[in-house]
Amino acid sequence: MRHPVARYLVVGSGATGVHFAQTLLDRGESVEMVDVGFERPIAPLPDADIDALKERLPDPERYFLGDRGEAVVYPAPSAKPYGFPPSKAYVFQRPSGVQVQERGFAPLASYARGGLAEAWTGGSYELRDEELADFPFPASVLRTHYGTVAARIGITGAADDLQRFSPLSAPYLEPLAMDAHSAALLQRYESRRDSSHAAGFYLGRSRVAVLSRDHGGRKSCGELGRCLWGCPRGSLYAPSLTLAELLTHPNFTYRPGLLVSRVLLGPNDRAVGVEATPVAGGSAVRFPAERVILAAGALATTRIYLQTLAADGRQGVRLPGLMDNRHVMVPFVNLRRVGREVAMASYQFHMLAMGLDTGDWRSDVHGQISTLKAASVHPIVHSLPFDLRTSIKIFRRMRSALGVANIWLADTRRNANVAFLQQMGDGATRLTLEYGDEDHDMDATHVAIERTRRGLRALGCIAPAAMVKILPRGSSVHYAGTIPMCDAELEHSSRGDGSVRGFPGLFVVDGAGFPWLSAKNLTFTLMANATRIASTID
């Protein structure tokens, strides 16, 4: 069967794909989207809070732990204090045709409707002008698009000390009411503001894509404590919500169940469509298009681009510059909060964010602080240094005092970190990701950890060094840099308008095009950048 030629064919339904498509539809264009698109399960008992969920579900153990106990986090040297619940398994489901080998890099990838941001915690931060210095367009241009995206998805934020790290140019919603522990931390910070600032430690409300008032068909946060398991009210933004709106648009065609393998090239290497394989099995299908927009996420876009080159006889290409934020977890105990009550039914994720001023904007550290509310407690309990029964007793007494600061460091493009295709024996190819200089930022990481621990100490918290976890490279889920936007006429790069050099009609609009990776959460900037490109593409 021959498919009609699409004017714009978007690959992927993640944060960049849906906002790129929506901007084009707002312009009156037609858009076709090809996607694997594993579907999100329906959240049960949408009005129940976390406590009621455990009481009212017919089989709560299966809902929380999975059919085979896949959500149980067992003791291990590298065990994290949380696990992804079975209700988020669809986010990380991988189609059988995708083979990836990682060296020094343990990335997460998603083929779900909405992509990786289906499992995010909503952190949304504008970059400062200077942080856009490496991008081949004026920083002021992006401000408009931050505003467009913020108006679409709803982001809460407050004018506070964090404005020195992240401007508030977009329209923000008023923040949610804080939980008692977060409020206590912020209050103590405010009483010690000067000394904290002298130490380069800044605290404020985190900017979160969660609704503090109803927005379109979505309801404001109902404080159910179910964020991790999947917000049943649509309060916490996920790109699948935008996709659901796109599906009602007459000019939008969605083709799920298809894994794009490569871009089809015509004369002069012009992109003329894509080839995709049905995930359920069957022979490859071709979708002709005038313009192909790769928005599959940095790693999947890199795979498609390399497979396109290989099919064109250009095997052995290595793409340098793979980036990922260093991610560290710093658990802490707020000694003044021991023995207090905890409201389990509340917004579950971070309500505070922090910045460490290093004197150089390129190396400033960004962090988000989550106090412990609703959670699977067994991963935390078994990490305590006592027998399990004692750990439960002590944990319940200290529960109201526990929290974690997640901090991230910026990353730059370097030649040691590469993506390339490896030929397999059966003729298939495997995307290989190598993060070759894993240790390059260890000194900066240890300095950031110590400064974070000192900052928390000033807030009355202890952050035991033994509990700090430097997560494996790839854990931040912020990937970028393989087909960077730049002004220089370099091979395997893209222009400011997202067009890929050497391939007319081919555009990259996701993180693969980023030339530098700020420490701040990437997704808001990804969405704004995709919107920027879509607003001017011809």
Partner: protein
């Protein structure tokens, strides 16, 4: 068409390196010559390959070199013999000599009698250690090297450095030092090490067996990275995403002498021997070699080895299939009883039938006990909530990632998800600050008391467990070690 490859004989094929050599050989049968090659696996226990579907030109011959010469016909004329079988670990000098020296002598004599074309003898970098005091393994390998060199056969002696890779006893031993809450390094930590990956070593040995050389040689085989022992342990921590810690140095001079003295009295029942500590006082680095560079191009870097090991360990721990084996060994009734005891220990005397069913269903996600002591801890904990308290207190100290801890954590995960029960676990217990801190102190003191009693009762049991062979059906294939 390529010339046929000479017949190959491998001893110790069921050991840590031997298994990988077998895998590498089977992976190299892309050419007609490799596929048609006659291969003899000379192993102590032929049952180790009972379930393997071997290529048509392969055969398995049972032979315990420590006791007997290879049977007639086991070594073909013109064949190449790769001698991997060895005794390693905590064994007596007599056993070391019996297997490593006399076993090699028997094999050499058989090779001469059969007219073998070449002997590739896998020795150890330890044979070249300047300080080999009390290291019976190194002395035995050194003596065996002399036997090979004097045999009159064309030979190559291969001295690998530390061999890493999934299942490596050396790597796992070093990780135990590196990954604890208070990591230590034995000795100064300044000795240089140069680990090689077992698959690279296996690849090298296969290539060596295909490129016969007339020249006798002794070659060292190491990986591409040479680092101080202290750096290696720090990198192991980093690979496991653990925070960097200052490694506390434990002086070795006196402990080695004391261990050597103790060994004369109690034999090899101690957890470590004086000789095994030689790796912490000698450099374990390879001299460069053209042969190694040519036949082992692009060996794995240390960082890759460490990350691969972390990933393999994680995959093993997370592999659901592994659990089916445990489940098959433990009946539903047994698991239900076990859950009732564990739940009672954790504070839920009557957890209900559905919670028990959930425990049985998800129990398949737990890895099987790794050894006898792990099994004993589970057996003890099953007896009663009080016994479980003692076993858990000791497991937290001695086996924090063991099977008992995993079973208890699963019990907790089920209880915190169950209606009516979850509030005992997932909620805070509010009180005044003084009451809360007092309760924490009391709980901590109780834990200290239980841990002290548990240590007194169970530490000797752990030592005894070292002397008991592990009869678990799911234990991995035995090493070349006879321990």
């Amino acid at each position: 068409m390529a010339a046929p490859l000479p017949p190959l004989v491998i001893t110790g094929a069921s050991g840590f390196v031997g298994r990988r050599v077998v895998d590498a050989l089977r992976g190299s049968d892309a050419t007609d010559a490799a596929a048609a090659r006659a291969v003899t696996l000379l192993v102590r226990d032929a049952a180790a390959f009972q379930r393997d579907v071997l290529p048509a030109a392969w055969r398995v011959v049972a032979c315990d070199l420590a006791r007997e010469a290879p049977p007639a016909g086991a070594i073909p004329r013109g064949g190449i013999v790769v001698h991997l079988a060895a005794a390693t670990g905590r064994l007596s000098p007599a056993v070391m000599r019996e297997v490593n020296v006399e076993g090699t002598r028997r094999l050499v004599e058989a090779c001469v009698a059969a007219g073998a074309a070449q002997l590739v003898f896998i020795s150890s970098i330890a044979a070249a250690f300047p300080d080999r005091r009390w290291y019976h393994y190194a002395e035995a390998k050194r003596d065996a090297e002399r036997i090979v060199a004097m045999s009159g056969l064309p030979f190559i002696i291969v001295r690998p450095t530390m061999v890493f890779g999934h299942g490596s006893p050396v790597q796992e031993g070093l990780e135990r030092l590196a990954l604890g809450g208070a990591p230590i390094v034995l000795g100064s930590g300044r000795v240089q090490v140069q680990p090689v990956h077992v698959d690279d070593l296996a690849r090298f040995l296969v290539a060596l067996s295909e490129h016969r050389s007339e020249a006798a040689a002794t070659v060292d085989v190491g990986g591409p990275d040479r680092v101080a022992m202290r750096t290696l342990l720090a990198r192991m921590r980093a690979a496991h995403s653990l925070p960097a810690r200052e490694l506390r140095s434990i002086p070795l001079a006196i402990p080695r002498q004391l261990l050597a003295l103790a060994e004369r009295i109690v034999g090899t029942r101690l957890p470590v021997t004086a000789g095994q500590l030689a790796s912490f006082v000698n450099d374990s680095c390879a001299q460069p070699s053209d042969v190694v560079e040519r036949l082992m191009p692009a060996p794995r870097h240390l960082g890759d080895m460490l990350h691969e090991h972390v990933a393999a360990t994680k995959a093993r721990d997370e592999r659901p299939g592994i659990v089916g084996r445990v489940a098959s060994l433990e009946s539903g009734e047994q698991l239900a009883r076990e859950f009732a005891v564990f739940a009672s220990y954790l504070g839920s005397a009557a957890p209900g039938a559905r919670a028990a069913e959930s425990y049985q269903r998800t129990h398949a996600s737990i890895a099987p006990p790794s050894d006898t002591f792990d099994r004993w801890l589970v057996a003890l904990a099953r007896q009663s909530p009080m016994a479980c308290a003692l076993a858990d207190a000791y497991a937290r100290l001695a086996r924090p990632y063991g099977t008992l801890r995993c079973k208890l954590v699963l019990t907790l995960a089920v209880l915190e998800s169950s209606p009516a029960l979850h509030r005992q676990y997932d909620t805070a217990r509010p009180s005044g600050s003084v009451v809360a801190w007092s309760a924490i102190v009391v709980a901590g003191l109780g834990w200290m008391g239980r841990s002290a009693i548990a240590a007194m009762l169970l530490a000797p049991l752990q030592l005894v467990a070292r002397c008991v062979p592990d009869a678990a059906p799911e234990s991995p294939p035995s090493e070349t070690s006879r321990g």
